[in-house]
């Protein structure tokens, strides 16, 4: 077991741990070590995407959706991780959270954090390179089409994400 000194940022907080197993999966680090259990575990083999978090290499960098169940913490040294717990800012829900609520997007809710984080990364991408309105459904499908939700049939997740994209200035070109 190769140990490393870990230094990463999660939801704007620095986490430094010496002598930690570099193969430790991010989902275990978050849930077991840090106590952030908003990131969920289901398949453990990078298929269902319920464990998705957003990762930036550097401040202001692209938000990349990553599956915490298979990503070792050694891959994240020096990086910036956002989990579902970090979405609301200054006491205000993120528009995606509000849209998920108002659309009754989820049922048991277990899949919600993964959908939130993947669509959060999608918004980041669209902010940098807006797309035509006609392509929005495809972009959503690209971003969350591989996510498993057993309860809902997906309709309301897609609807909510679309609403946020269309109502956030600068994400679509026409």
């Amino acid at each position: 077991m190769a140990t490393i000194d870990l230094d990463l940022t999660i939801n704007d907080e620095k986490y430094r741990r010496g002598d930690i197993d570099g193969d430790l999966k991010l989902v275990d680090f978050l849930r077991q070590e840090v106590g952030l259990t908003g990131t969920k575990f289901c398949c453990g083999i990078a298929v269902c995407r319920v464990c998705t978090v957003a990762v930036q290499r550097v401040p202001g960098g692209h938000q990349e959706a990553m599956r915490a169940c298979t990503t070792p913490v050694s891959d994240l040294n020096g990086k910036i991780v956002t989990t579902v717990e970090g979405l609301a800012k200054d006491g205000e829900l993120h528009p995606l959270q509000t849209a998920f609520l108002e659309n009754f997007s989820f049922q048991c809710g277990y899949s919600a954090p993964g959908f939130l984080m993947a669509s959060y990364c999608l918004l980041d991408r669209l902010k940098r390179s807006p797309i035509p309105t006609a392509d929005v459904d495809d972009a959503i499908q690209d971003a969350v089409g591989q996510h498993v939700c057993r309860c809902t049939g997906y309709v309301r997740y897609h609807r909510a994400i679309r609403q946020v994209i269309l109502s956030t200035p600068g994400l679509v070109t026409a």
Binding site: D21, L24, D28, R31, Q32, G35, L36, T37, G38, T39, K40, F41, C42, C43, G44, I45, V47, C48, V50, T83, V84, E85, L87, A88, G91, E92, L93, Q97, T98, F100, L101, E102, N103, F104, F106, Q107, C108, G109, Y110, S111, A112, P113, L116, D137, Q141, V144, G145, Q146, H147, V148, C149, R150, C151, T152, G153, Y154, V155, R156, Y157, H158
Partner: protein, 901 residues
């Protein structure tokens, strides 16, 4: 259904162990309380409406609400660090088990302690009453496993990561489980009771109500193979139906249909914590369950024997939000293993299955083998049905016999057959354990019946919807298998479906694709489904605090279907406001009603009820739990708040009756009086000692039990069978004895047959790739007649979820039975395909929700009803597209390629 439950349900008191259930109070967490986090207005809409789910904020902000989220350090007083337990399972069922040997593990991955059947035996650990095979929670050496995956040992690790590293080696570890001689495979044997339904109508034109000659509604169930006159008569009719099918000159269709084992695949694998506090003799359990009362009771029963060396006087159960359920967390045996492990540790025990283990050991949907025969006369009228259904129940009885019963009850579909011979049973086999999964057996019958009707229509070259319409049960008729009332809207749904462009244009569209690589077909299926079990009991309390805030307490749980939200808006009808809080999964508080549960007729005892607690299942939120909260809110209003309002209004108001007042704009209004807010009335009720909380039990079997109750001189008849009230300033509840009760006996339950039904249908369009054989759902129309709608978004969400699960059932999901199934420890979502959004035609399924049939229409169950027609509609669409009838699901690309090759 009622009688067969006689042995199934036992009172918790039998074990002599007290049970306390509480819940994770996520709303108390500082995060949830930060008002600024909540969008303006919070979840609550105007009275009777929800802007979003009451549990929504906790879920969307990632708070700890699921059992898997908790560690001992999160819970007051629980010992840290935890011990982590792995449940080691047998991987065979054809040899004798001789012991375990963990030497194959590297030394650093070996458990520090192992518990086997010998330990349980030595300590006198008992059996939960509801179980079969008798206990054997850990298989003793010298026996052949009862089933594949039967646990053999509990392995204790003191470190999470060590177990994580050992886990993949332990999952499928034939080398760990030693075997001896070969033993003959278990020959499937039926789980008792089997279901037999014989229905024969009188010849001639007897008026409908009198036309039944032989039915289970007259004299109860039959068992044609057993002695007794009634059974002998039934056997005669079985023969008569057989003869008629052979010799009446009807067109007779006879086919076999098969459905597969599937996994409910709720997303949170089962997890939980347990701790046996030896000082207090209290066993603490924390689980996300659909049946908290069952889990707590089972845990208490295993330590109940007098000579048991493990001293447990109390079970304290913490119910978490389940991360999905669909039936798979109803009477799961998971909690028993937590309870067992806790007895062999001084610390907190954590068991957290991974997905492989969940596939290996979790409750499955039964596979079925259905032999179906239908006789049709020249005019196209259905004359007789014979449906013999066998379900693979696997290694533990769980609720298999009742699943078979429901398959039987749905064995003639929504149609009128003058003659019916229906026989269904679940068998004990060496397969994984099957149990309660969404639709509870109906899905099997629905697939067979709706497929065969399409086959008949094809053979007769008639329109498949027209054929159905000709044979539908009429509104108000009793159904062939014995329940009193067919649901309304069957005809209306068929009429709408028949007129729908997707149906009208199907031949044209099919023909247009005739030469393409992609073939196209449309299918229709109609289903009705019972909601509730025919004998349902619900507990609830509605209480108002001094500030006018309402709290609803229920033993129901919310597995995502929206129960908590629905119950939160229910008080608005009588109390003019939504509840601020809904406490789900509560049990202990209802001891205030001192109910005695028994199927024996104890009419003289005012505390008697046939079923006290039921688990949360059978799409009962809208039909049962809502009634309970609605009735209780009315009681609270009439015996507590209206009297307080009258006192505020003064002597002029002394004669004001409920009909003279109404809620408007959050205030109680009466002509000529100043409108009063709920807060004002509540403050008065608390100050003057009026009733501020009503707690009730309600029991349903075709109708609600009713009785008279007198509070403060006012006597009124309520649809409840127990009432207790608490007054302002008082700490305790006072029981109000019922009078002139209209109750139920086992016989009256059979005769009234308390099943209630809802109706749903689907039109589905599929495209099939002639090269790959892949079938894809591309469009659809989903019809539902839910009656009164409580929260439209939740109803629609259930329809969408049902549609997606129907796609999986028809086309994608399958676990092979026996040795090739999930027992090999290699099943996960890379092999078991649940539908993704691209499989579900998410932008092109229209929902048609029929309006309530009358102003007082009941709110019907949704979450199972809407599932039943989806898979058969897809199968019918595939048949239309391919010209080939697939009588077994899932219809995989391999199967399609095979017929097209």
């Amino acid at each position: 259904m009622a009688q067969s439950r006689r042995d199934f349900l036992k009172t918790a008191a039998a074990s002599g162990v007290a049970i306390v259930v509480s819940r994770i109070s996520f709303l108390d967490s500082p995060q949830a309380q930060a008002a600024t986090m909540d969008p303006p207005g919070g979840w609550m809409g105007s009275p009777g409406h929800a802007r979003y789910r009451i549990d929504g904020l906790a879920k969307v902000t990632g708070q700890k609400i699921y059992a898997r989220d908790f560690q001992a350090r999160d819970l007051n007083g629980w010992p840290v660090p935890e011990e982590h337990v792995f449940v080691l399972c047998s991987t065979f069922a054809d040899r004798i088990f001789t012991g375990i040997d963990l030497d194959f593990l590297p030394p650093d991955l070996r458990p520090k302690r192992v518990v086997t059947a010998a330990d349980l035996q030595r300590d006198g650990v008992g059996i939960a009453n509801t179980d079969f095979p008798e206990g054997r929670y850990l298989l003793p050496t010298g026996m052949r496993p009862d089933y594949l995956g039967q646990p053999v040992a509990l392995l204790f690790y003191d470190d999470y990561y060590t177990l994580q590293r050992a886990r993949p080696r332990l999952l499928y570890a034939p080398q760990a489980v030693e075997t001896g001689e070969a033993a003959p495979l278990l020959v499937p044997i039926p789980f008792e009771p089997e279901t037999s339904i014989i229905h024969v109508v009188k010849d001639g034109n007897a008026p409908f109500a009198e036309r039944e000659k032989f039915a289970q509604t007259i004299g109860g169930p039959v068992r044609p193979t057993e002695p007794g006159k009634r059974n002998a008569d039934a056997m005669k009719y079985v023969d008569m139906i057989g003869d008629k099918l052979e010799s009446s000159g009807w067109e007779v269709h006879e086919q076999t249909y098969e459905t597969q084992i599937t996994d409910p695949m709720f997303m949170e694998p089962e997890s939980g914590l347990a701790w046996l506090d030896r000082d207090d003799k209290t066993l603490h359990l924390l689980i996300g369950s659909q049946s908290p009362e069952y889990d707590a009771r089972a845990a208490s029963e295993i330590y109940a024997p007098k000579d048991c060396k493990i001293d447990v006087e109390k079970v304290s159960f913490t119910a978490c939000y389940p991360g999905g359920g669909f039936g798979g967390r109803d009477t799961s045996i998971f909690g028993v293993y937590l309870a067992l492990a806790a007895a062999y540790s001084n610390s907190t025990i954590r068991i957290a299955y991974d997905r492989y283990q969940q596939f290996m050991t979790g409750i499955k949907r039964h596979s079925s083998h259905i032999e179906l025969t239908m006789g049709i006369d020249k005019a196209g009228r259905f004359q007789a049905v014979r449906n013999h259904t066998i379900l693979n129940g696997g290694g533990r009885i769980n609720v298999s016999a009742y699943v078979a019963q429901v398959a039987g009850i749905m064995g003639a579909g929504c149609y009128d057959f003058p003659l019916a011979d229906i026989w269904s049973r679940a068998e004990h086999t060496r397969a994984m354990v099957s149990g309660s999964v969404r639709a509870f057996g109906s899905e099997n019958s629905s697939f067979a019946i709706e497929s065969m009707i399409d086959e008949i229509a094809e053979a007769r070259k008639t329109d498949a919807i027209e054929l159905r319409r000709k044979n539908l049960l009429q509104p108000g008729w009793s159904i062939v298998t014995g329940a009193p009332k067919a649901p309304p809207a069957l005809h209306e749904i068929c009429r709408k479906a028949h007129a729908h462009p997707m149906w009208r244009d199907r031949a044209k569209k099919h023909a247009a694709h005739a030469k393409d690589r992609i073939a196209y077909g449309v299918g229709f299926a109609l289903s009705m489904k019972n909601y509730g079990t025919g004998a349902d009991g619900v507990f609830q309390a509605v209480e108002v605090d001094e500030k006018g805030r309402l709290t609803v307490t229920t033993h129901g749980v919310d597995m995502g279907t929206g129960t908590a939200t629905t119950l939160a808006i229910t008080p608005a009808r009588s109390l003019g406001a939504n509840a601020h809080e809904v406490k789900t999964g509560e049990i202990a508080i209802f001891e205030n009603l001192e109910m005695i549960e028994s199927f024996d007729d104890l009419k003289e005892n005012p505390r008697w009820t046939p079923i006290a607690f039921m688990s949360h299942k059978a799409a009962t939120t809208s039909g049962r739990w809502v009634h309970g909260v609605d009735a209780t809110s009315q009681v609270l209003f009439e015996v507590g708040l209206l009297p307080a309002a009258r006192s505020l209004w003064g002597s002029r108001a002394s004669k004001l009756a409920p009909k003279d007042v109404h809620w408007k704009d959050g205030k109680l209004q009466a002509r000529g009086f100043k409108p009063l807010s709920l807060a004002e009335i509540a403050a008065k009720a608390h100050a003057d000692g009026h009733v501020v909380s009503a707690m009730t039990h309600a029991f349903f079997s075709a109708e609600w039990a009713t009785a008279d109750y007198t509070v403060d001189g006012l006597t009124k008849r309520w649809p409840i069978d127990a009432l207790a009230v608490r007054r302002g300033g008082a700490a305790n509840y006072e029981i109000v004895d019922r009078k002139n009760a209209k109750l139920f006996t086992v016989e009256s339950m059979w005769e009234g047959n308390g099943q209630t039904f809802g109706a749903a249908a689907c039109i589905v369009g599929v495209e099939i790739d002639r090269h790959s054989g892949e079938a894809k759902v591309v469009e659809g129309v989903h019809f539902l007649a839910p009656g009164r709608i409580l929260v439209r978004e939740l109803v629609e969400g259930q329809m969408e979820g049902c549609f997606s699960q129907g796609v999986g059932y028809a086309l994608l999901e399958e676990l092979p039975p026996y040795e090739k199934g999930a027992i090999d420890g290699k099943w996960n979502l890379n092999r078991y395909h649940v539908p993704l959004s691209a499989d579900c035609a998410i932008h092109s399924v229209e929902k048609v929700i029929l309006p309530p049939e009358s102003p007082d229409a009941p709110a019907r169950g949704v979450a199972e009803v809407a599932f039943c027609p989806v898979a058969p509609a897809i199968a019918n669409a595939v048949a239309h597209a391919t010209g080939h009838r697939f009588r077994s699901i899932p219809i995989t690309p391999e199967k399609i390629r095979a017929v097209w090759a």
